[in-house]
Point group: C2
């Protein structure tokens, strides 16, 4: 017997899988989504499952599993799905907290004024029909007319276009419309006079992929669709996906790449179905994404991006035929992948730059783009410095005991009453805040990134924690307690009755330390960049990124995630990376500008800076409050304000 | 029952085939090669088969079949395989004359001096290793070094190369060799310092495909391979293949194209096996072929090339990625397809031009390239005129009763004794001429193109036929007779005992008419071009092409196939088209020259010329002999010489 029958509950999915696979691999094969944030390295503990029957048919409990499964739970049959390998039939129960939920997509297109001058333009022509006295070839007849009528010189045709050229010329009775890419190559010919053309701007985030269908003539956004990045099943963050590739040298990269290509194709299908277009009507595409997403999409080995000195395979933007990477739009079309600044500052950041244009301003901008990774840019028209900070997955809800992605049931907003320490929170998927809901209606499941930051800021503002992050001795509610499990202090955000998991959702000292590490990383990055530039104050702070956009600027200041700045000069700009992709789609000069900036930005490797350690240790503290928030006087007790 | 069992004898191949297919389609499906020169249009009569059993399981005998199958043979069960459709089980016998033989390939590479300056060149480099202080991306590191060391600017990399760049840089310890295409794009990276590079020059003839493996460094031809053009099963000549495409709009073109692409891939495999290279080592490829072969290879609709005014889809040369047309060499490599002059004067003729260079000479060259089609060029550095003449398939051995391709058993050389009218001939595959052989050893099967021309010239030289082509009354041997079958005069070339088909091989008056049409077409073309150019004598005549090379210059003059010219100025240059492909492979400036000439050549559509009819009628006659061949006095009887 070389296969075993595996059944997953509560979904009931079942099937034969080869012996030797882990339960996690088996779950993927059978279409069961189990969380895995670390890329199957027994590091995140998110893939805990309970073995109902057949525990003896699994490989032995490993030491690493013990970190996430205390002895009591071990006796109940809990295992890490990535650690247990199959030797025979098993019945597995996947607890709610280990299931992957459908993430809430937070990448709407922002309103921006964009000058419409796309790379793909339409040219209508009426050609002279071929005759015995004028038997010129179809290609030359077309290109000579394009030159004569529109001044387009040295034009080429994609082979796919050449294949149908003769037929379409005659079908259109020698009147046609040519779609021309960058005044250089004809990528589509349609019979008759046509005036519509479309393109897709794509933002490949580590967690979310967003697609914006744009009218290349009017510049309008016609439709927005997003999907989870399916690579999430191979690892939550960039590093674990690169590790997956390195541990599966035969086909890891191909699998990761195919996963994203299929998602892009699904997005194309959804969009053309919705808008009554055909896939051939999508004649241009721009893509942004961090360096790892960029490399994986193009099947470029991303291993060296993960190792010092982290050089990317290429900085320059790439124009690649859609068909060469398997993307099913108009087959002759190009995909423009924006340039990369450095191994950890990718095309997504370049997208932010061409959207926010710090390089065109005299005053100093600080751009903080926090998605799954943190990318920072500081500067003005004179000089730009970028860096990348390892925020860790805490801001994405990982590594925290009750952390989760921004999915229905996630606590996304929290306020705490300074007097009573009572908590009021809001979960994704419900409009009512908890204090206006009956407990059993709320069904909180965990805490997502924006909730995490709210909690830290509120705990500090209310004096529940101190400048150091430690819990204050002076507690006012029964929400503060010592955990029975690990003897650590914790604070209850949602009571058992308000959850769908049957347990109090808490924030522990350990969790707070994780958030401090994350916010400290960002703050340190900003500080070191400012030092490199010789400044100690910035003129404006721009918060961008799927996550950055949901941070409350005041709270970001309260917790010391960003350097001091006039609160009115802190902007939240939404998915600026996606906007950059859209700008590059609609304006070809912006593509050239993007290459120029990407080349100009100096990359600062933070960990190589002498002051990094000291600065980072200092940045973990929460900032002195009275100096920063004089307007909190009267609202917040004096002892706290004086911290 | 929707299938029937078909058995082909004598091969014994058998299998189920769908009802409704013709026997010819069934033969292809079962791997039985039956001749078909007309593209299944019941026009050539070459696919005659004998039904041994199950004649009632075929569709009815058609009127068109009667042209090739007289009543007596019809009673014996003969059918045209392209006409008879299957309705049930059938046992078929394929007579020897209907079987496709392996053709003898006559396309050796000619010795020519070629200046070696290929499109693909090697550049070795040692790069500075990436470091924290210098984390520049791999692509930029490489291209900056190429610019600094070799002055190569604005370099791009094919995506396939970019994918492996990081790994190879590190494998070679930052020493690498880049293969650069046209100083523009890196198409391969190898670790270390490498000094070898190879390319393939390809000549796609209507009947034969030849491949020349060249060393891109030394320019040497390392290996030559050829194969039949597999499209022959879809039709012997260009027109019948285009017809096949038009009658099978769904997949006809794809099938024709795949057939040739597979053959090119087979040639690559044979060549790399022989030379211990890998397919990746083939880094460049040039292709010549007539316009139809060009379009079909690239899957460009060839329908319009077959209809007046015969415009090609494109004149200009094409650089296409090997992978885009499914050719398995180094995947990033380009294939350079040479330009086209006109619908019937293709890239093969351009190949001849860059090999023979009439455009660089002051005196007038007449180039006659006879393959399956006839392509003519006349001119010098001032002016070049091209035209194409419909020689018909007679010169390829088709349409003659005993015509066949140049395969073993084909009569290829013939001399006739002027006194006795005794025939001496040589068949392909045997060194001894017939007069030195025992009859049963000879095994003649038919007459191929060069044999056909020999026969016409010899019949005329010996007075067996007159200036008009008609048989003389004055016959001296029993080889001359009136056919019992059709009451037409004929002349026996090989007696029954000397053949493998058990019948006398003869040349009939009808055959002679066919050859006259062919030679007259060429002569008319030459004359009309000369008239257009305002000259009445040419300085040199160049005979090229698989067939042209085998024509004896003196006999070509005797039969009036070419205009008057000093015999010492008539050259046979072999496969000049293939040489042109090789020249373009080894010298990139010749590619530019080819585009320039292809554009410069004026195409003369012969059939549109007013004088065409008169000139053609006149040209059918054989020329006055004494004026042309005074040296034949004494050898040839006076009455003949005075014709």
């Amino acid at each position: 017997m070389k296969e075993a029958m595996i059944i997953f509950q509560p979904s009931g999915r079942r099937g034969k899988v080869p012996l030797g696979e882990t339960l996690l691999e088996a779950s993927r094969r059978l279409g069961v989504d189990i969380e895995s944030l670390c890329g199957e390295k027994m590091l995140c503990g998110k893939c805990r499952v309970r073995i109902e029957e057949g525990g003896e048919n699994l490989t032995e409990f490993q030491q690493e599993e013990g970190k996430f499964i205390p002895p009591a739970e071990r006796r109940e049959g809990l295992r890490l799905a990535c650690a247990a390998r199959i030797r025979g039939d098993v019945l597995v129960f996947v607890p709610e907290e280990s299931r992957v939920s459908n993430q809430v997509i937070r990448k709407a297109a922002t309103k921006r004024r964009i000058k419409v001058d796309p790379a793909v333009k339409l040219y209508s022509l009426t050609l002279k029909q071929a005759s015995i006295g004028d038997p010129l070839g179809d290609f030359e007849r077309l290109t000579q007319a394009l030159e004569k009528r529109y001044g387009l010189k040295h034009m080429t045709l994609d082979l796919e276009v050449l294949r149908s050229l003769g037929t379409i010329l005659r079908k259109g009775n020698w009147q046609i419309t040519a779609s021309v890419w960058n005044d250089r190559e004809v990528i589509r010919i349609r019979p008759g006079k046509v005036t519509n053309a479309y393109g897709l701007a794509i933002d490949i985030g580590t967690t979310t992929v967003a697609a914006y269908l744009c009218d290349l003539v009017s510049g309008e956004v016609l439709s927005t669709h997003s999907l989870m990045n399916p690579q999430v099943t191979y690892g939550e963050d960039v590093m674990s996906r690169i590790t997956y590739h390195m541990m599966h040298p035969d086909d890891g990269l191909r699998k990761l790449s195919q996963a994203i290509v299929e998602t892009l194709n699904s997005l194309v299908v959804s969009i053309v179905e919705e808008t009554d277009l055909t896939a051939d009507d999508i004649e241009d595409m721009t893509i942004v994404g961090n360096t790892a997403m960029h490399h994986i999409l193009l099947q470029i080995n991303p291993a060296y991006v993960a190792t010092a000195p982290f050089p990317p395979a290429i900085h320059h933007s790439i124009d690649v035929k859609a068909r060469d990477i398997g993307i099913r739009i108009n087959p002759s079309s190009y995909i423009h992948v924006l340039p990369i600044e450095a191994g950890f500052v990718g095309a997504d950041n370049v997208g932010v730059l061409i959207a926010e244009e710090p390089h065109k301003k005299g005053n100093i901008s600080l751009i903080i783009d926090i998605g799954t990774n943190g990318e920072l840019v500081l500067g003005n028209k004179e000089r730009l410095i970028s860096s990348s900070c390892a925020t860790g997955p805490a801001l994405e809800g990982a590594q925290l005991i009750f952390g989760m992605r921004a999915a229905p049931g996630a606590i996304e907003r929290v306020t705490i009453d300074p007097q009573t320490h009572e908590v009021n929170f809001k979960v994704i998927g419900r409009d009512e805040w908890s204090q206006y809901s009956r407990p059993e209606e709320i069904k909180a499941k965990g805490i997502c990134g924006s909730g995490v930051l709210d909690i830290l800021a509120e705990l500090y503002r209310c004096g529940i924690i101190l400048k150091s992050g430690a819990f204050s001795k002076n507690q006012r509610s029964n929400r503060y307690r010592i955990s029975q499990e690990d003897d650590q202090p914790e604070f209850v955000i949602a009571w058992k009755e308000e959850t769908s998991i049957g347990r109090d959702i808490t924030i522990s000292l350990k969790d707070i330390r994780q958030i401090q590490l994350a916010k400290g990383a960002i703050y340190t990055g900003c500080k070191l960049m400012m030092r490199r530039m010789g400044i100690n104050r910035v003129d404006r702070v721009i918060l961008a990124g799927a996550f950055g956009s949901y941070v409350d600027p005041e709270r970001a200041l309260i917790m010391g995630m960003i350097p001091d700045c006039d609160l009115s000069k802190v902007y939240s700009v939404g998915n600026a990376a996606g906007d950059g992709a859209r700008i590059a789609l609609l304006n070809r000069n912006k593509r050239i500008e993007a290459d120029r900036i990407a080349k100009k930005v100096e990359y600062l490797e933070l960990t190589a800076e002498q002051e990094f350690q000291t600065e980072f240790m200092y940045s973990l503290q929460l900032p002195h409050m009275r100096d920063r928030f004089p307007h909190l006087e009267g609202i917040v007790p004096d002892d706290i304000l004086n911290q």
